[in-house]
């Protein structure tokens, strides 16, 4: 086994990766233009939903970088050190992702259009119309909605902004701290920065665990504000984790195959694939727990959520979601050898990334699209805008990665353990 590597190698962001990510961004912009010029019923709504989906997915993958780093530090684990720069690059992109997300929700909250709701014409915003439409909480207004009025202490625009801005800033700050400590460690060596990272990681995990569900409630669950589920936060946390792990694994594999990260071997990939496998099962567990409780109790205000998703146009996608996110990792990654076989792991990563796009799609679309149009569940802008966000993420993440002086935290106390990782 080769144990001597050059740790001074930097990632050079050029060539095919740069060209293709820029092309993907261009495709996304074309998708946006098509979407905003879409004059069909619900076309504009669809474009805003796609933007929310893309922005949320983007933010979640970057948060997963911080989350992954934090629990590796908290567990004092050594195996992940060899590719820890990848989640660090994700964490570095988080501030930009957060700004993009806030711009999208602002655009959606303040761009209004006229819709007919129960025979009355109302000026509703494109995003969060269920609670952000003016007059919903005013007893004198003809739009008055008692359920929303009862929830208005949580669902109002200042509180919404407070939650989104403060939480994203907090996650980005912890991400920045962990990256900074790691860079200082490369300069200075010693245990000081590792100990600081350990503490910061513990604090982050406590903060993140308690606050992330609130972020998910505000960002996605409030799209259908009459409905609620206490499982939703954990369900989204599981989705975030699986999607983030799939993106981390795919990035590590693609970098490894283009000649970087020479020290990563099938043992590291085995552990990453094992995490993907395990957390896909966890995702299914939470998904089913939410579905099962609602199905069994059959309370009208809860089951309306699944009623929407069992309409003929969404039912196939509803089941495909389970096939992509549960059955495929279960069958593709079950055996030991398949976790060590790069092509298989790469394929599963792609399946999971698309699967969780569909997962988010089914959280956002069925409750917001006008009913009559929904016999065509997909639009061209859905795909194009997702490609655009993928390109934007790839571009920014690789840009951030190329700023690191080395592709491995070479003075991390566990770097040798990671190089000799063997399972």
């Amino acid at each position: 086994m080769k144990t001597e590597y050059s740790f001074n190698e930097r990632f050079e962001f050029a060539g095919k990766a740069k060209t293709w990510s820029l092309i993907a961004i261009a495709i996304g912009i074309i998708g946006l233009i098509i979407g905003f010029l879409d004059k069909s019923e619900g076309g504009m709504q669809r474009t805003f939903n796609d933007l929310l989906l893309g922005g949320y997915y983007f933010v979640c993958v970057c948060i997963c970088g911080v989350f992954f780093m934090a629990y590796q530090y908290a567990a004092q684990s050594g195996w992940s050190v060899s590719f820890l720069r990848i989640p660090q690059a994700f964490a570095k992109v988080l501030p930009i992702a957060a700004v993009v997300f806030i711009i999208i929700v602002t655009a959606g909250l303040f761009t209004k259009h006229e819709i007919v709701e129960e025979g009355k014409k109302v000026m509703a915003p494109y995003l969060y119309a269920h609670w952000a439409t003016p007059g919903l909480t005013d007893p004198k207004s003809e739009n008055y909605d008692a359920i929303i009025a009862g929830k208005s202490a949580f669902l109002n625009i200042p509180f919404f902004y407070g939650v989104v801005v403060i939480l994203l800033a907090l996650y980005a700050l912890f991400g920045r701290m962990l990256v900074k400590y790691s860079e200082n460690e490369d300069e200075l060596g010693g245990m000081l920065n590792y100990n600081k990272s350990f503490k910061a990681a513990l604090i982050f995990l406590v903060v993140f665990g308690f606050t992330y569900p609130v972020f998910a409630f505000d960002a996605i669950m409030s799209v259908e504000a009459h409905w609620f589920s206490t499982m939703f936060g954990w369900y989204n946390l599981a989705a975030l984790h699986v999607a983030g792990l799939a993106v981390i694994t795919l990035t590590v594999l693609l970098l490894h195959q283009s000649g970087y990260l020479g020290w990563v071997n099938e043992n590291h990939i085995h552990d990453l694939a094992k995490s993907m496998f395990a957390f896909s099962i966890f995702w299914t567990y939470v998904w089913f727990a939410q579905f099962f409780l609602i199905w069994y109790a059959n309370l009208p205000e809860e089951s309306v959520y699944f009623y929407h998703r069992w309409q003929p146009e969404y039912k196939w996608w509803f089941w495909l979601n389970i096939v992509l996110n549960f059955v495929s990792p279960l069958l593709l990654l079950m055996s030991r050898d398949s976790k060590r076989y790069y092509a298989r792991v790469k394929f599963t990563c792609v399946v999971l990334i698309i699967g969780h796009w569909l997962d988010y799609y089914l959280m956002i679309m069925p409750g917001t699209m006008p009913e009559r149009n929904s016999y065509i569940p997909f639009g061209i802008q859905d795909v194009l805008i997702f490609v655009g966000f993928a390109g934007l993420f790839t571009f920014l993440m690789l840009q951030a990665l190329s700023k690191f002086k080395s592709l491995i935290p070479s003075k991390h106390p566990f770097v040798q353990e990671s190089l000799h990782h063997h399972i």
Partner: protein
Amino acid sequence: MSSTKMILGLFDDPDEMMHGIDQLQKNSVPIYDVYTPMPIHGIEAKLGIKDSRLGYAAFCFGCLGGSVIFSIVYYTLVHDWPMNIGGKPNFPMPNFVPFTFEWTILWTAFGMVATFFFATHLFPGRAPRVMDLRATDDRFVIAIDAKGNVPHEDITRILQDAGAVEIKHNDRKYVSYE
């Protein structure tokens, strides 16, 4: 004819023991087994030990547990005595998921433990078979089947040269805790 049944080379250092394995293999001496107080990475590959088949046993027990409970509940709640519970259909698939899942896991876990006990001749209350008691403490033991592996002096010398702190020629295969 010597009455020696097993030759044991006792090492106090895992690296020296690994070196001892190399030396024995270089001299084409077949190794019966190696006993160490803690797991050593890479030793399975060096000794050419086949992958464990415990996973297959686990899979079979899981399938068995899942089908047993599914059949019981299907027979009682769907076939023999259907009941109207909360207006749900008589054969409600989502309801069947939790207990099928739980029994699958339960039987997998118990089945794996039982298989492991069976394969390693371990049962609660039974004295375990060990070749040298210190292999569970601070000695790394290479065991060589003495039958057919002659001359014994050569094996002893190889182990000595590799750094064995003690070499035993045992007449019994196992010593037990009695």
